[in-house]
Amino acid sequence: MTNSLDAYLILSGLLFAIGTFGFLARRNAISMLMSIELMLNGVNLAIVAFGSFIDRLRPNASVIALLVIAVAAAEATVGLAIVIAIFRNRRTPLVDEYDSMRQ
């Protein structure tokens, strides 16, 4: 199993799907961000798996994975900062209570 690319990819897909569910279903903004991190990690796993099994991509895949991690970090920083800022205004971390754009 460890020698089949499909296993890693399905695993990555599963992780991504779980992340999607969390993003669409949770009320807390921070939960949503955590779900996003899960999604990013799922993608990262796929990239690394490709790098492992396909010769052409070997060192590049890892580089890409590293960069993804870096960007994810940056995004998490800013996202969380925004959530904190909004929390200061609304006193609630629940996204369905941020509905001033509602018709």
């Binding site: 499909d6 897909g13 779980i18 999607t20 796993l45 396909i54 960007v71 929390f87 200061r88 006193r91």
Partner: protein, 178 residues
């Protein structure tokens, strides 16, 4: 003494078992992240998930990425998340609903998504080699600092910007409560 490739009695390979265990842990903790009511526990589950994922990176032959995963994700991002959780706590938090009204369609979407990905993956011939090959660190270093040096630098600027931005956004004004 080298570890034998196959576990004696059950005739299963080590790495397979390891992979299975780590995969289970990862998926399990991922599920906990999205299901648990208490967000702090979610955060902790996330850390476990990242750890398991790092292990899978090792098995897949990308030790540097695994190390970076541990350092950055578990060491920095997860901590950041936990801090944010603590900063946005409200008293009434546990009593409320965990899920949105659209949780069911969301679950459905997630399941369908997983199935589609599985189908797509399964029906594609990746032209991959039969076994996994470890990434050599010096090869990686060469590529990183020759071909990808520009993205590397840009990412560092990006991180700088993110840090400054984050600090500014989350700054407390005079007299505002935490």
């Amino acid at each position: 003494m080298t570890i034998p490739e196959v576990i004696p009695i059950v005739n299963v390979r080590w790495d397979d078992i390891l992979f299975l265990i780590l995969a289970t842990v990862m998926i399990g903790s991922a599920l906990l992240v999205v299901i648990l009511r208490d967000i702090i526990r979610c955060g902790l589950a996330m850390m476990v998930c990242f750890g398991a994922l790092a292990g899978i990176y090792v098995i897949a032959g990308a030790p540097l990425v695994a190390a970076t995963q541990v350092l950055v994700y578990i060491g920095a991002i997860s901590v950041l998340v936990l801090f944010a959780i603590m900063l946005t706590q409200t008293k009434a938090a546990p009593a409320r609903l965990v899920f949105q009204t659209q949780a069911v369609p969301a679950a459905l979407a997630a399941v369908v998504l997983a199935i589609i990905i599985a189908l797509a993956v399964g029906s594609t011939d990746w032209g991959a080699a039969g076994t996994r090959v470890r990434t050599a660190t010096d090869a990686l270093a060469k590529v990183l600092f020759q071909q990808y040096v520009l993205p590397f630098e840009i990412v560092s600027v990006l991180l700088l910007a993110a840090v400054i931005g984050g600090v500014f956004l989350a700054k407390r004004d005079e007299g505002e409560p935490l």
